[in-house]
């Protein structure tokens, strides 16, 4: 069965549906939040230091850019990817799409694609604006390398987190966003920071961070710690391509699991029972 055409049709349909004032406003806010915050922090430090931008700001700026863009990308993915089944049940359109051959899989894949497109789009705009600000105000070295690295990391982040949240959306229908956020904070952040633990290598954040370090160099501020300390705690670096493969492999595995769930599960709207 051909799932590609119906999945692309779903993606385009979802994107078209999203052209509402409310959704556009949210997208614009998400795009502008990282560069605005970065600008305010740079200007704030300049005022605090009597008109001179402190050198630590240069040190911090890339880390801040990555952190802020990551924040909005994850938020966007939570908004777009987790309600994949719930929005159809809530909008009473599930019966229409599920009564198509392969409709469940097509809708699952199409909504995954739509969330990747929107979230990576937001990341692209926000990262570009942040790097331009860094270059103009802080005259950072190798802005292109940072920009390319950020784009690679956030593209991969969009893929894997979209797959993760989409799969969560097929299992925990009504509370998918809450479960997604709890997983992110509880597993990916808190457990992922446990030193010398195997578990941190199972987190998505660990692999994306390693890809970032591998492509743009050590971007954490020196007062957080030098790379040598980090390596003592989290172990030696693997080649970057290994992390890329892990991320892509995990994306495929999560999508396959999500497809299994969505095909095997009975979804019925309250009105139908």
């Amino acid at each position: 069965m051909n799932y590609l055409n119906p999945a692309l049709a779903t993606c385009l349909f979802e994107l078209k549906r999203s052209f509402s004032f409310q959704r556009m406003a949210v997208t614009v806010v998400l795009c502008l939040f990282p560069p605005t915050m970065l600008l305010l922090l740079i200007l704030g430090s300049k005022f605090a230091e009597n008109g001179q931008i402190p050198t630590e700001m240069v040190d911090y700026s890339t880390f801040l850019s990555v952190f802020l863009v990551a924040l909005v990308v994850l938020l966007s993915l939570l908004l777009w990817a987790t309600p994949n089944v719930y929005s159809e049940l809530e909008g009473k359109s599930w019966s229409f799409v599920a009564s198509r051959p392969g409709g469940r899989i097509s809708v699952y894949l199409g909504k995954f694609l739509a969330s990747v497109v929107v979230s990576y789009g937001i990341a692209f705009i926000a990262a570009t604006a942040c790097v331009i600000l860094q270059k103009v105000l802080l005259n950072i070295l190798e802005p292109m390398k940072i920009w390319l690295s950020m784009n690679l990391v956030f593209f991969l982040a969009s893929l894997i987190y979209s797959a993760l949240f989409s799969t969560i959306g097929t299992i925990f229908i009504k509370r998918a966003m809450l479960v997604g956020a709890a997983f992110l904070i509880g597993f990916d952040v808190i457990l992922g920071l446990m030193p010398n633990a195997i578990i941190n290598k199972l987190t998505v954040r660990f692999h994306l961070q390693e890809i970032g370090v591998g492509t743009m160099g050590w971007f954490f501020p020196t007062d957080i710690g030098p790379e040598s300390e980090y390596r003592q705690i989290f172990g030696e670096a693997w080649p970057t391509w290994v992390h890329v493969l892990v991320v892509l492999g995990a994306t495929v595995a999560l999508m396959a699991f999500g497809i299994y769930v969505i095909v095997k599960r009975e979804y019925v709207t309250a009105d139908e029972t």
Partner: protein, 315 residues
């Protein structure tokens, strides 16, 4: 076409449908039952959207739960309302056809043709949120027929329609049935389904109580206490004649040309009407059962089911 063998569906401890045996050949069927009787559950089982707790479902000889490609031959118009604020009817129907695997151009052409067939060409570029209930209902049917299915399943297609909309819907369904294409029409209102002249499947409390031809169902109804609405050229004379010759329980006049007669022997009324019209020159424009007749029918069937009445026409 559709086979159900001992199919039971439980929603945790609630019974959706209960031990249904069914073998439907291609044709026109009216799935009748009160609200909450299990009609939609039965449709979802047939479509493979639900897996039976017990029993086996076959659609075109295969298990629909395991083979969703069978859905290519089905057009479904669910009872649920769907409306997108910024999506036109044409865009929505095109998308629905694309989900069947058609490319954009082919899907758009099919969507236009089906919307045209249902008289929505003038509104197909408008946002669906601006559609009336009747227009949305027609758009829902357009998405169900656009891929040219072998079997059309409509769940409560008359819901919310005004008289003109009901007339148009009935005409469309008759045309569909006349083309010798299969149709399952689920409804809780008997006379709406009667108009399409299908074979009946009567379901209540999750059980298939009876199935049969329109004549067989009329026979059950004929001996059941129920009400008739008769529109004629002379309702006063007609009602007088009926009172003299039949056991009527009550007569209630509606306007200048109609009355509602309650009787326990409807078959007598049916037998008498042709001779009265001939003898007294009264023109009868319409004889219809009211909505309550379905409840009557089901209470009769339930009594038969419990062994309190003879089986009669129940098969």
């Amino acid at each position: 076409m559709i086979e159900l063998a001992g199919v039971t569906k439980l929603y945790k401890t609630v019974i959706g449908v209960n031990d249904i045996h069914l073998d439907l050949q291609p044709g026109t069927y009216g799935l009748l039952g009160p609200n909450g009787s299990g009609k939609t559950t039965l449709i979802n089982l047939i479509l493979g959207q639900l897996r039976p707790t017990l029993g086996e479902v076959k659609l075109f000889g295969e298990d629909p739960w395991l083979n969703s490609s069978l859905l290519r031959q089905i057009g479904l118009c669910p009872a649920l309302e769907v409306s997108y604020p910024r999506v036109s009817g044409l865009e929505w129907v095109t998308y629905m056809v694309q989900l069947h695997g058609f490319g954009f151009a082919a899907a758009r052409k099919r969507a236009k043709d089906s919307l045209d067939q249902l008289g929505l060409t003038h509104a197909m570029d408008r946002a669906m949120s601006s559609y009336s209930l009747g227009m949305r209902q027609r758009a829902k049917i357009a998405q169900a027929i656009a891929h040219d299915p072998d079997l059309l399943i409509l769940d409560e297609p008359f819901n919310g329609l005004d008289p003109v909309g009901r007339f148009e819907m009935t005409r469309f369904l008759k045309e569909w049935a006349d083309k010798k294409r299969s149709l399952i029409l689920a409804s809780h209102i008997l006379h709406e389904v009667e108009a399409v002249n299908p074979s009946f499947l009567l379901i209540s409390g999750g059980r298939l109580l009876a199935s049969g031809s329109p004549q067989e169902v009329r026979e059950i109804l004929a001996d059941s206490p129920f009400t008739l609405r008769i529109v004629s050229s002379d309702p006063k004379l007609l009602s007088n004649l009926l009172i003299q010759n039949c056991e009527l329980e009550s007569i209630e006049f509606e306007g200048n040309d109609a009355f509602i007669a309650a009787t326990k022997r409807a078959s007598e009324v049916y037998e008498l009407l042709p001779s009265i019209t001939r003898e007294y020159g009264i023109k009868i424009r319409e004889v219809s059962s009211t909505d309550d007749s379905l409840n009557t029918l089901f209470s009769t069937l339930m009594r038969m089911h419990r062994g309190e009445m003879n089986q009669g026409a129940v098969s």
